[in-house]
Structures are given as structure tokens and as C-alpha cells.
Symmetry: C2
Subunit: 345 residues, 2 copies
Amino acid sequence: MTEANGQWRLRRRPQGMVQESDFEYTEEPVPVPQEGQVLVRNCYLAFEPAMRGWLDDVPSYLPPVGIGEVMRASTLGQVLESRHPDFAPGEVVTGMLGWQRFAVVGGDGGPPGLTKVPPEVPPTRALGALGTTGLTAYFGMLRVGEVREGDAVLVSGAAGATGSVAAQIARLRGAAKVVGIAGGPRKCAWLRERARLDAAIDYKSEPVGRRLREEFPGGVDLFFDNVGGPILDAALLAMAQNGRIVLCGGISTYNEKEPPPGPRNLMQVVIRRLTLRGFILLDFLGQARQAQAELRGWLDAGKLVCEEDIQEGFENTPRTFLRLFEGKNLGKQLLRIAELEAPGG
Amino acid sequence: MTEANGQWRLRRRPQGMVQESDFEYTEEPVPVPQEGQVLVRNCYLAFEPAMRGWLDDVPSYLPPVGIGEVMRASTLGQVLESRHPDFAPGEVVTGMLGWQRFAVVGGDGGPPGLTKVPPEVPPTRALGALGTTGLTAYFGMLRVGEVREGDAVLVSGAAGATGSVAAQIARLRGAAKVVGIAGGPRKCAWLRERARLDAAIDYKSEPVGRRLREEFPGGVDLFFDNVGGPILDAALLAMAQNGRIVLCGGISTYNEKEPPPGPRNLMQVVIRRLTLRGFILLDFLGQARQAQAELRGWLDAGKLVCEEDIQEGFENTPRTFLRLFEGKNLGKQLLRIAELEAPGG
């Protein structure tokens, strides 16, 4: 193999908005698998807003990515060479292999941290609706938010990879009304027409507070929040008594130099007897298989639709990451960096 | 009866910090009870931070007090004259009779909204540890916070009427550690010595964040918050994974012209998988009798100690209300405006 292993490493911690120049491109030889190891060629990189949090040197649910380290990311790839009994060349796998063309995993005696993608699953779905973002939506809406038949449900960041699945799960579980908040007419049209939500609010052109009062005269029973900031503040004034808020993320705040002030309307949590719950997907991974089975059922039946925004070229890796914070992606943000080879090809 | 009915009415809505001049003193004749009504002489007025919220013309769990209306407040008094079969002269009662010397209640066919104080109960306790603040502490700590044996518990506003009871209930229910936050050495000494908490943090002279890290190396399992603002923000960084926060109130924010920004560390709710719950005592009143019985048992056994700060003189009514926001009261803030007469006296 004469190809080099291209990698994107963290050059410095972003100050405020993350920039392409916060990362640097490096190359090293393609690693050689030792006994118990597997060599994988990454074909798709997956991007999530939460990755922004991994760049800051603050305590979190995962350690920060170190300066000079390959950027952590979920990936979809293909086994090139295996010295582990459970994996064979050609198998399609997902893992947290990071922003690099090749990776060697395993060899420490434990499982090599790869998940096989079944042949009947469209591979990129394993990064989106069946991957971390789809599972986050699933557990957040069902286990944390405990959506119930008849609920009036609001989802922010509703055209994103997690929000779009969360909103549709609420609809599938019998919510009386599901409204999504997203930025721009294209995303809002998608929410109404493809995701079949009851309404969409374009926060870039509509007054969110007034639209929430119009759409939810009886208040919001369950708010699944991906964005925080002013939208969370507006939603606090639209909640029904005993309403629940699932705090899944706060993309509106991730690129601030320091955490911005929180919602002014926090006392509504008292006045309206609200429950706010935060969660991290890691805590639910033990139930992932059952969740993926249910998500696959919905996808195969056409009840759940998912979009993928697939950019091209490893050189565009940091650029593609920035699309999340520019609001450019509809659905799952992916980057193709190599072709998956056909089985036996 | 030649005495006039002195009253304190809301003159104007406070702009920012409530002032004595936001209220005005008026007099009218002592009302005469009609068929089904009860005439009560108020002897003690009770003061709670939540009353500040009733002065703003914003939607809340109770309608705002109208301009020109007698200020709403819990009171302890004595029946002077009764034309209702359930009440007799001399009986000691609590009710929401407001800032006035006399009130007539009932007559609309329903119960007159009075609760008799049993003779064996020290009467002012019916406004404090057995009244709204004690019940708020009880339900907030047990039903909302669901304190468990072994919990590491933090209470803010811990020397106040609600906080002091909440903290002691946590101790009585087997919390592994209970720490209170209060302002000034007198309150902190009381928390350690009389309320027998494990530690007290003086937010006026100590760095709260650092002290929380010292007192809770494993994190706070349950935070009962009465104050909001910077203390809530600091506590968010001290919570244990899966910690619970009971939002009981936010006295630090009540006198702002508009709601101040919320906590910068709100994303800790996600990262640490926290649950925040707000509540209002009204929702638990159906269980008040059982709660009062348990509180009385603790009080009678000396396991729960409660302070009352009793000021004197009806002319000092607005002034006494302001003491809450000046942090002057230790325990329940009361004002004596008339003597309770001895039974049969």
C-alpha cells in the first residue's frame, strides 16, 4: 500500500467560533495491524454539534481532544486487513475512528470498538438514523421525554439529524401535535412535507414566541431542545403546566468564548411546575440494539424519513464540520472520503 | 367596636426593588359578618419571598394583586364573630386574609377558607413550620426532590423559613451530608449548631464554587434551591452525575426590573444528566394534613428546630416585608399586629 494516512489534527483550541485553521492536515504511514488488530479504511466521516464541546478544555462527559491529536469522530469504513477473529476484510463497520483515512483498532485484548453494518442496511444510515444521532433522538424522546399519546410536542433544531428523528418519533408515538423549529424555508418545507409535522416555525423569519402561542394555545407538553439560547427562553413561556423539557443540546451556545447567560425565563420552571432533564447517549448504549431494530422498522416501512447531507473530499473535513454551525445541513452531515467497495469486489 | 380596619393596599407595581412606598395605608370600618360569614381579627401576618411575584402584572400561578387591593398574605387570627356553623368566637385560625387588621370571610356557600389551629400547637408555628413554608419544604424535599438515604444534599437560602426546614428534613431522612448556603455568620452558626447541618457556606464572605468543591468532592446529589442567580450557577458546576435540582424559588431575581439572565452553566444539565424540577405548593395541598402530622412529630420530638423572626406593629407591615429581601430574617418572618386572647379570656 503506497497511500499515506491523511489525518486532521486539532491544532489549537477554538476561541469562540470554530475555524478551519483550528485544525491541521498531517500525514503518516498507513498503520500495520498487529496480532488482534483490525485495519480499517474510513469511507465516511460523521459530524455532530456535540463534537464542538470536545474541543474545549473543560470537564465533560468525554475528555477533550488533545492538541495535536487526530480529531475524534464517528466514521463508517471497511475492513482492509484483520488479525482479529471477529472481523474479515471487506466488512463494513462503524466506530469512533476520527478524522483520518485509515485506523488500526483493537489489540488490547478487548473488542476492537467496531460495529458491523448488516448488508441489508444502507451503510450511511448506520451513521445517521441508526447511529448516534438517531439513537439520541430515540432515547431522548422515549426514555427521557417519555412522549405520550396526545402530547403537544415541540422540537428545536428540527431539521437536524437528531431533531428530525425525534420529531417523527413523537408523531409515530401518537403525539397530538408536533411542531418543529428550524432556520429557513427549505428546512421548514421539509419538516411539513417530508417529515409530516403539523407545523414548522422558521426562527430566522418568524417571531418564535408569537408563533408558539398560536400553535400551542394549550401549551407545550414536551419540548425537545437541541439549540438552547433564545429559543429555549421563548419556549419556557409557551410550556403547559407540568410540561417536560428534554435538554439534548445547545448548539446556539457552543461557539461562544464562554458560556452565555441562560434563559431569563427560568422561573417559569417553578411557576409552571416544569421538569428539565439532560441526558447523554452513552448512558443508553446498552439498549442500542433494540432501539436500532425499532428505528429500522420505521425506516423500512417509510414511516420515518431521514436526510443525509453528503459532502465530498477529505480535504474538506474541517469545512464540513463548520456547516453544522452555519445551519447549512438538512439532516445528517456526512463527508465521503473514499468509496465503499462492493462485497467481494 | 370603635376600632377602624387598618389595611395596607398595593399603591403601584414595584419597579425593581420593592419599596415601602409601593404600598399605602388606608382605613375603613370593620366589616360586619352576614349570614354564613366569619369575622376574624388578624394577629400575625406572615411574609414569604413568593409574595414579591404577586406584585408584578405577569401570568403566574396566582393572579397578580390589583392596584388598590389589600395585599394578599397568610395570616393568623382569632374569630371575633361567627355566623358560620363551623366556627366559634375565640377560635384561632389561619387563612389568606391579607395585610389588614380585620377580615370577613365566607358567605358564598363554600367553606370560609379558614383553617383552625389546634390548641396544642404553638399558634405561630401554623404560619411557619406547619404553614406554607414548612409544607413547601416538606413536599419539595420529599415528593419533588425525593431525597434518599445517603444523598449528598445542598440547600440554598438555608436559614430561611423554607430552606431551614428542607435542610433538616434531608438530615432526618438519612442524607449522608447536608450543607446549607446562607448569608452572614449568625445564620451559618445557626445552621451548624441549631439545625445540625454538616456545614454551612456563607455566600457573603466565602467563594461558593470553591467551598462546594471542598464540601462535595463526589458532587451534589440533590440541590434544593431557593435563590437562583449566581448560586444556582455555581451549584450546576458542583452537581454529581444524575443529580437532581429542586427549583423552589429564586429570591435573588425577584426584585429585578425584568427577569435577569439565567445560569451560564445550563449545559451542565446535559453533560451531568441532571433533572431540574419546579413545583408550587398548591399542587400538594390535598396531602397537607399528613405532612403537618409528620412535621409536628419532628417538632415535638425536638428533631426539627424552627426560628421565627417576629416584628411588631401593623405600621411596620411593608417594612417587615422588605426584611426578606435584605436577608435580615432568620427563619420565618412574622409581624405581630394584635395579641391573641387566651381561650375563654
